[in-house]
């Protein structure tokens, strides 16, 4: 069985923050096509603040996620602050106390994050939101495990599904959030939240993959 170490994997959140900061201008640009163009700015601000706190902290993945989630909720407003804030604090709660993280716990973590988002927002799959990335990614991960694939292969399939989900938003009409006021004029453009969610899931899963060890 493959697992990765909770205590030694805190740096995954730092790497994730770096990717978000690198994509600051890109995320704002796509947001600007159908939103107000501040998604990258706000995401980079929140993830950057978390990175500053975590850089020399040397804490576990669970603690890193809790720091990030709490910061996003208390410091970054908008829609993304509460949505990603809830997602990461829910992620953290599932990982808290676990020495190693196996595929089953990883799946449980993803589901808890999704449930947290659904408790405060009202979006559904197909509404052109981050759920169009998150939900198929979780489904792909669970399906891979059900087929007996390894943790590592399942993570790869998760990333592919997240990116396909992100790309699916190009052909969707926004049903929620600021872009929803556009109706059909939101067609042809990626959703910024779906795009940042794909970055997050990719960094998380590539990071986890890199830390995997074969055990018992």
């Amino acid at each position: 069985m493959q697992t990765f170490d909770n205590a030694a994997s805190g740096a995954i959140v730092l790497a994730m923050a770096e990717r978000i900061i690198e994509n600051r201008a890109y995320l704002s640009e796509i947001d600007g096509k159908i939103g107000d163009g501040d998604h990258g700015v706000n995401m980079a601000k929140g993830f950057g603040m978390a990175a500053d706190r975590l850089r020399d902290a040397n804490v576990s993945l669970a603690q890193s996620m809790d720091t990030l989630g709490t910061l996003l909720m208390s410091e970054i407003g908008g829609s993304m602050g509460p949505l990603y804030g809830v997602m990461f604090t829910e992620f953290a709660e599932v990982l808290e106390g676990a020495e190693t993280i196996d595929a089953a716990r990883y799946s449980k973590m993803l589901h808890a994050g999704l449930a947290g988002i659904q408790a405060i927002g009202s979006a559904k799959v197909g509404d052109k939101t981050l759920l169009d990335t998150l939900v198929p990614a979780i489904d792909a991960f669970d399906a891979a495990l059900a087929q007996g694939k390894s943790f590592s292969d399942a993570l790869g399939l998760l990333v592919a599904a997240a990116e396909a989900g992100r790309d699916s938003t190009i052909n969707l009409v926004a049903k929620i959030g600021r872009a929803s006021r556009l109706g059909d004029r939101s067609l042809g453009v990626l959703d910024a939240g779906a795009t940042s969610c794909a970055i997050i899931l990719k960094e998380l899963s590539v990071g986890a993959s890199g830390h995997l060890k074969a055990t018992g």
């Binding site: 208390s74 970054i76 602050g81 600021r178 006021r181 556009l182 004029r185």
Partner: protein, 330 residues
């Protein structure tokens, strides 16, 4: 982009600092630097009245904190909802034992953050009721009114809600009155030029030279149509038509009128618009009881204007006459 800023990421911080220095006789800061509190709040025996929203709409939202109006205002990033924590801190600061009403605009982020703040306040035993403004006619058809955005009609909602709370009314009475105020409001925006978030550095939408966007939102959300720029008279006629066709008021109804600039339109042009707005409203048999013209609710440096018409009854008329002490006097 030529702007008076220090650091694009600190625009809100720096705005709040200057605001509090300028208006220390009216407002103060609490422990949370993103919550502006009216100087005498909390006031014993009075329901707390709170709002909050993204920055960049000044004088909204902070300019309406003060006596007989808003007790506290949660301050967000430019065009971005305040955090749940800021809404919660604003609620706590306003609570004087009779509960708190949160009067805010219908945007996804604000809905989520107010919801979370309300839950946090409930844990402290603070009763919170909310009213969500949805006066922007062009943001959704009449049968989907619950989807419409809140815009300048929010000012009337705050004024009426704040005045009602000042009478010592109960939490439910304040909520119901603020709800009536916003239900009686309809607004329309027309944009002639875009606005730029300093941290983004370029306009996030375009309005081609020689055109205008009818029904534009407070953050540049696209309107219902783009058409060649017309004379002020023609634009004013369109604005009145869109608002009043949706409103469907019986002849003889008294109304309050608010014409607000969106940030970069000179005040004189608002008066040019109002000249025709007034005669068009009168031509429909409505009576204008009160009028406000100015930059009451802006969108950074957007070029354009909004029109809000609120239908009045005796109750609303009385409440609109209550004196306030805010930086923006209404």
């Amino acid at each position: 982009m030529q702007r008076f800023i220090n650091d694009p990421d600190l625009v809100v911080e720096d705005t709040v600092k200057g605001f509090v220095k300028a208006h220390a006789d009216i407002v103060r800061l609490g422990d949370n630097p993103r919550v502006i509190i009216a100087r005498d709040t909390p006031i014993a025996g009075k329901v707390g009245v709170v709002t909050g929203g993204g920055s960049g709409h000044e004088p909204a939202f902070i300019g309406y904190a003060g006596k007989n109006m808003l007790d506290a205002v949660a301050v967000g990033e430019l065009f971005s909802s305040p955090t749940a924590k800021s809404f919660y801190d604003a609620i706590k600061a306003s609570h004087a034992g009779k509960g708190v009403v949160v009067l805010y605009g219908n945007y996804a982020g604000d809905n989520m953050n107010v919801k979370m703040a309300t839950k946090l306040a409930a844990k402290d035993g603070i009763d919170v009721l909310t009213v969500v403004a949805n006066d922007d006619v062009c943001s959704a058809p009449p049968e989907e009114r619950e989807k419409r955005r809140g815009v300048a009609g929010e000012i009337f909602m705050w004024k009426v809600g704040g005045a009602k709370a000042a009478t010592g009314a109960s939490l439910e009475e304040v909520r119901a009155t603020a709800q009536k105020a916003i239900d009686n409001c309809r607004s329309i925006g027309v944009g002639l030029g875009p606005c730029t978030l300093p941290a983004v550095g370029h306009p996030n939408f375009q309005i081609e030279a020689g055109t205008m966007e009818v029904g534009i939102g407070h953050h540049g959300e696209p309107g219902v149509r783009v058409e060649p720029l017309k004379t002020a008279d023609a634009v004013a006629k369109d604005m009145v038509k869109i608002v009043l066709d949706d409103h469907n008021l019986p002849e003889g109804t008294e109304v309050a009128v608010l014409v607000s600039g969106l940030g970069a339109t000179p005040l004189n042009e608002l008066y040019i618009l109002h000249d025709t707005i007034e005669s068009e409203i009168a031509a429909r048999g409505l009576k204008i009881a009160k009028t406000w013209i100015g930059n009451y609710f802006t969108s950074l440096e957007m070029v354009g204007a909004t029109l809000t018409v609120m239908a009045l009854d005796d109750d609303l008329k009385t409440l609109l006459d209550v004196e306030t002490r805010c930086t923006m006097v209404l």
